[in-house]
């Protein structure tokens, strides 16, 4: 006899593929189910994409949404959030969170502008110093989390404030405009490549985002480091007893997040020709949203980089299609909320462990 109680369905133990970890050893029918759900993070993206095509305004008989210029704009618009989200994925996989990324972006933007314009440095030293600052900032936060055992939420919330304060002090509170040229107080022309495109089609920031995303995806698939990351998020105690260098991994992960936030800050400065201490406010929430929509669990231990990339693109498409349809800004907020939940629900089609 089957007991057809509807409410208990979700709670019954089910056939359960493992959480998305690095290994996949397909063999029997599990493999089919698994590879189907491997792409679950793409469900929401695909759905939003199809809807976007359907509702796109048409201009001169062409879909505005699908025009190559528009698609490039979408990827460029999410590239900073996307790069931050890549770093955030590592942090969330170990069960942490990094709220400081938006402020670190602002700090890095100010740093780039100040070093090039005020200190007259070249591009390479500027980029290196700024990336170093971001990495050091992240690593410091990681060390506090790992050594003192304080929750990363609180450490990085404090880090957010601190980075914002430092950026404002450094810049005197004002955005520092970047003028290009060879004179004093001018940045090397080459820096403006960041706001350009390859072949006039693919924006440089978009290219960087995709390159970093794919790189991180490979790292997460095939390195021992990635397995340590998953292990810490899965069961920290077991990881420690298995010889995983928990502290070191933790610090590294926060350092990566800081590094990528700083990179996003450099791109930000290059795109906007300015480094302002208030840049990147609230980006942390967008980045976390991209990660979580991509199917990574905030509890740590399960998730994928492909999901994060998909999540970031989904958010970008959503913003774009709402704007293209001239939805009232306030209505946009409501619709965005609903679509995000719907997208997350779609990712959930995957069966869960009871």
């Amino acid at each position: 006899m089957n007991s057809p109680n509807p409410t208990s369905v979700a709670e019954a133990p089910r056939e359960t593929p493992p959480r998305r970890g690095p290994i996949r050893l397909p063999r029997d029918r599990h493999a089919i189910v698994d590879s189907f759900f491997r792409f679950q993070s793409l469900f929401g993206l695909a759905a939003v994409f199809i809807i976007a095509i359907a509702v796109s305004p048409v201009r001169n008989g062409e879909s505005v949404f699908l025009s190559s210029g528009n698609l490039a704009n979408i990827v460029r618009a999410v590239s900073e959030i996307g790069i931050i989200a890549v770093g955030m994925t590592f942090v969330i996989l170990i069960g942490g969170i990094d709220l400081s990324v938006g402020a670190v972006l602002g700090l890095a933007a100010v740093g780039s502008a100040t070093l090039m314009v005020d200190s007259g440095m070249g591009i390479l030293p500027t980029v290196l110093i700024v990336l170093l600052i971001g990495t050091a900032f992240g690593a410091t936060q990681g060390a506090i989390v790992a050594r003192l055992g304080i929750q990363s939420f609180i450490v990085t919330l404090a880090g957010l404030q601190a980075a914002r304060g430092i950026a404002r002090m450094w810049s005197g509170g004002l955005g520092i405009p970047i003028a290009y040229g060879d004179g004093p107080q001018e940045a090397p022309e080459a820096f403006s490549t960041l706001s350009g495109s390859i072949n006039g089609v693919l924006p440089v920031p978009a290219l960087l985002f995709l390159a970093i995303g794919v790189g991180a995806l490979l790292v997460l698939r095939s390195t021992a480091f990635a397995r340590h990351v998953y292990a810490i998020g899965g069961n920290e105690k077991a990881a420690r007893l298995s010889g995983v260098p928990v502290r070191r991994v933790r610090i590294t992960v926060f350092a990566i997040s800081g590094l990528l936030a700083a990179l996003a800050g450099i791109i930000h400065a290059g795109q906007l020709n300015q480094g302002s201490p208030n840049d990147g406010a609230g980006y942390e929430l967008d980045a976390i949203a991209a990660v979580v929509i991509g199917g990574t669990s905030l509890a740590g231990g399960s998730g994928s980089m492909g999901g994060t990339i998909a999540g970031a693109l989904l958010l970008g498409i959503l913003n774009n299609i709402l704007a293209l349809n001239n939805i009232d800004a306030n209505v946009q907020l409501v619709v965005k909320g609903l679509v995000i939940v719907a997208a997350a629900a779609l990712q959930k089609l995957r069966p869960r462990i009871a």
Partner: protein
């Protein structure tokens, strides 16, 4: 026999994807009897009782309770119908007190609608006392050791005053004294007309407690026997499908040089943690090729000693001398212990051993990753081969190496923890209750394996609460009492009485 059974399960079947966990099982439980369920790891015992206790709600077949067909929507439904369950895995809330855990979901209320804490604590104390456990009901469950948690689980089930009591390996984490108390309680319940389903891998217990035995194999019923008449071998034959002889190996090689030498090891914790017994004067040696047992009562500090030797113990000042392979040994953490060739199988497999939601393969290779990587990149093929080899060596029953570890049966999960540590090719293997929940056939495999490992020169230090296991497996048995070594008995003089006497601290003076 004409009496209507309390529970009648007919034609029970359950599939998990490709795995047929139960097929066409009929089971009855009568009032006042203890019906034992036996079977190898993964035979389907837990699945069957999960169906009866309302945890699994989709299955084939029918359940009748006192002749009435029932269908539970969830565990609380089954509880209300008078079915109490002690689940195999300890499912307690670490952040709540003992009393709160025991009455979770059915807290007694005062007239004002608040929780009646006094009544709750009093009743909790009472129930625990019948089990011989004097635990302060306000203590947080998270601070209890595994055996004590097991007692809380049992106490909780008793407090339900159920008509049917299901016990899934209730004694897996208990020492002999507690087991005896539990059996006394079971006898009382039986007199009171409670129907009991009892699952265990300890054959000796079955002989003492069971009225009827049903053996499961591969999800189906392999047969039913009367424990009074059937021999142990018959039952094992039913379970495993062959006879398991030489459960404990004989004829050991001569041990080699001293590998681990511990003298006067003591740890003074910076902050005392309630419930922990840090080493307070431990002397012992382990030679390569030797299997040394650690005996002691619950709370004697065996686990803490092993943790300390693995660099995973509590922080604090250390006194004493430890040498490993002739050199001073003081691991900063598990990592440095592993680097020196020391591996550890913890007692709490779910809390400390496994990433339950990750795949079997991920778990197996975690400790030995460095041997499977080139330039930081994991060699997939090597991982695949290694995992497959390890799983077959330990006869792990899993649908595939890619399934989540949580879907494995309890005993098979234990084997995964084992497999993981063996992969590091240690010189010294520290084992804390390594065969907990492992079926008799697999136990034999593990013992054989341990002997093989010892023969290759590996040193093994093994803590176990099962005295027969220690007696027949070990070359020497070291007994701990309150964090001290009180005896070191060579195989010849190690008897059950001698160990128990030392463990109780009776001959503490003589031994020192």
């Amino acid at each position: 026999m004409t009496e209507r059974p309390l529970v009648r399960m007919t034609g029970i079947g359950k599939r998990f994807g490709g795995v047929h966990a139960c097929r066409d099982i009929d089971l009855t439980v009568r009032a006042g009897e203890v019906h034992a369920l036996l079977g190898e790891n993964g035979a389907g015992k837990s699945t069957l009782i999960n169906i009866l206790s309302g945890v699994i709600t989709e299955y084939d077949g029918a359940i009748e309770l006192e002749g009435q067909p029932v269908s539970f929507a969830g565990p609380s439904d089954a509880q209300r119908a008078g079915i109490a369950t002690i689940h195999q895995e300890l499912d307690l809330v670490g952040g709540l007190s003992i009393a709160e855990n025991m009455f979770l979901g059915r807290e007694p209320r005062t007239r004002m609608g608040t929780v009646d804490l006094r009544r709750m604590r009093r009743q909790a104390t009472d129930h625990l006392r019948t089990l011989g456990a004097d635990l302060e009901p306000r203590r947080l469950v998270g601070s209890l050791r595994v055996g004590e948690q097991q007692l809380v689980e049992i106490g909780r089930a008793l407090s339900l005053n159920a008509r049917v009591l299901i016990m899934d390996e209730p004694t897996a984490a208990l020492a002999d004294a507690e087991v005896e108390r539990l059996f006394a309680t079971i006898a009382e319940l039986r007199r009171a007309g409670v129907g009991i389903v009892y699952i265990s891998h300890r054959m000796a217990e079955i002989e003492v407690v069971a009225d009827r035995v049903t053996v499961l194999r591969n999800g189906g019923i392999a047969g039913s026997v009367d424990p009074k008449t059937a021999s142990r071998d018959d039952i094992i034959q039913l379970m495993v499908g062959r006879s398991v002889d030489a459960l404990y190996g004989e004829g050991r090689n001569e041990p080699g040089d001293v590998l681990l030498d511990v003298r006067g090891l003591a740890v003074a914790p910076r902050r005392p943690t309630p419930g922990r017994t840090e080493p307070a004067g431990v002397d012992l040696t382990v030679r390569s090729g030797e299997i040394v047992g650690l005996a002691g009562l619950m709370g004697a500090g065996r686990t803490e000693l092993l943790e300390t030797l693995f660099g995973a113990g509590g922080s604090g000042r250390r006194a004493g001398q430890v040498t490993f392979d002739g050199r001073p040994y003081r691991p900063h953490g598990p990592r440095s212990a592993l680097a020196r060739g020391v591996a550890f199988v913890p007692e709490d497999r779910r809390g400390a051993g496994l990433m339950l939601e990750h795949s079997v393969a991920d778990n197996v290779v975690l400790s030995a990753l460095s041997t499977l990587t080139t330039l930081g990149l994991v060699r997939r093929q090597a991982v695949k081969r290694t995992v497959a080899g390890q799983l077959s060596a330990l006869a792990v029953k899993a649908a595939s190496p890619a399934v989540a570890t949580a879907t494995l049966s309890g005993g098979n999960q234990q084997k995964i923890v084992f497999a993981k540590q063996l992969l590091t090719r240690p010189r010294l293997l520290l084992l804390d209750e390594p065969t907990r929940g492992v079926d008799i056939g697999a136990k034999a495999e593990i013992y054989r394996l341990l002997h093989q490992l010892a023969d290759t020169g590996m040193a093994i230090l093994l803590a176990s609460s099962e005295l027969p296991e220690l007696l027949s497996l070990c070359d020497r048995v070291v007994v701990l009492h309150r964090g001290h070594t009180v005896a070191a008995l060579p195989r010849a003089s190690a008897t059950q009485q001698a160990i128990l006497a030392a463990a109780n601290g009776d001959d503490a003076k003589e031994a020192r």
